[in-house]
Symmetry: C2
Subunit: 277 residues, 2 copies
């Protein structure tokens, strides 16, 4: 048999009356975990109930061991390390960096770099599609890094915050519209600040024409708004369809936002600068 029927702390035991029966002072509906439970789920149980130790049972509910909280701290740090890695497009690993071989490190990085490189290639096609605009106004090229970077950063901020909130159990799918509405309003405020400063710089300080200043400003504002909406919702959607939300972090969001930013940019350029598309 050896079934788990209850737990008792040493403190309760020591303070109990000498002739008290164990069954009267034990917790008879103890929290326990199975031998084949995932260590991440067990860490969640520890966090949820503020426990110091948990009994472990096999499939027939026979007690086979205990897990103590000091092991769980290592698990929590491992899980965090994995999240940091995944969010930087690195295949997760818990080997110490300094003792891992070069080939093994390269293998964990090259796949995602290839995928993202090919995605960014499609962003390049947007530029080729609007080569007319660029030929007519080569000055447009100078704003591409700023637009891509700011869009990517704005989106990465949102996705990182939302991913972390999902991991900590603070956000679930039913919050998606609340998040979208919140990110929308945040992006309006942030967008106004960024666009305002940028317009001043381009139009007044650097003396570009109004058409270029308006093209860049409109793009910047819309990009920030769209970036934050995409960054805030894609991790939630990923989680909902049983994908790991951490893949919707900075690298992938940046690639998506870059394409959006460049498309908006050249769309408004052809509009404001009267260039035949």
């Amino acid at each position: 048999m050896r079934h788990l029927i209850g737990i008792i702390s040493l403190k309760t035991l020591v303070l109990a009356n000498v002739d008290e029966k164990i069954e009267n002072i034990m917790h008879d509906d103890p929290i326990f975990v199975y031998t084949n439970d995932d260590q991440e789920e067990i860490a969640e149980v520890f966090k949820k109930y503020d426990l110091l130790a948990l009994p472990v049972v096999d499939n027939e509910k026979r007690l086979v061991g205990i897990i103590t909280i000091d092991d769980i701290i290592d698990v929590i740090e491992e899980e965090n390390t994995e999240d940091f890695y995944k969010m930087a497009a690195v295949t997760p690993s818990n080997d110490e960096y300094i003792s891992t071989g070069v080939y093994s490190l390269a293998k964990k990085r090259v796949l995602w770099l290839l995928v993202l490189m090919l995605s960014a290639t499609f962003t390049g096609y947007i530029i080729r599609r609007f080569e007319n605009a660029l030929t007519a106004y080569v000055a447009l090229a100078a704003f591409i890094p700023m637009l891509m970077n700011t869009g990517g950063n704005a989106g990465a901020q949102s996705s990182t915050i939302v991913i972390r909130s999902i991991v900590l159990g603070e956000i679930s799918f039913r919050d998606i519209f609340k998040v979208l509405w919140k990110e929308f309003r945040v992006s309006i405020e942030v967008g106004i600040a960024l666009t305002g400063l940028n317009f001043l710089r381009i139009y007044y300080m650097e003396g570009y024409g109004l058409a270029i200043a308006l093209t860049v400003s409109t793009t910047l504002f819309l990009t920030v708004v769209i970036a934050k909406s995409i960054g805030g919702t894609l991790p939630i959607i990923a989680k909902k369809i049983n994908l790991d939300p951490t893949i919707m972090a900075s690298p992938l969001i940046t690639t998506i936002v870059d394409a959006v930013a460049l498309f908006i940019y050249f769309y408004f350029a052809t509009l404001f600068l009267n260039i035949p598309a």
Copy 2:
């Protein structure tokens, strides 16, 4: 008085002989923390010694309380959340996202976005500096997103791994050359894979001329190598000069690498395409 002179576990106490004196069975050189110690440092002590509780003393070493490990788990998760935020260019916060106001969220994001936007503006100046090259070969513009993205991602991978290793105490300043040498070799392997695939695509599949294919490939390879060197070492240097290594994460590294990538790109473009700089 009330000085901390030793600790004893309940288990030791229960199992001890009934007429044993406490001073003979206690640990008389206990680990302890001060009331004004930083919670992050205390979490480190718990992790290092696998403790369940720690005595807390005031400045006169009088015992004033204990900290138990279940509180420390919350501290560890808070510290990780802060690192995630900082590495995504968000001012750290431990308020739950869903209950934080829009203005407060916007304020935590706008400052870094402004700083990074202005930095990216300087990257734009590199493009203006080489406007001749772009005017002569407008096709060059189509590769800018791919080069910027791949460089940024390659650098962000390295900086994230190194930052995490610093936080976990696995890397310190004396490892800087070991890290640099390792990142250099990793970047060679990764760079060959990325550049090879990219050359095939540009030269054979898309039919660009050899000069353009060589310009893009050389830039891609050098950018990956430099990105990984910068991403691997800047966090270590930041830590050494008492800056928070997490600021040397994806957003800032990406901005730096973008500038490097574009400079190399146009440098080789003027070289290989015979354009007067």
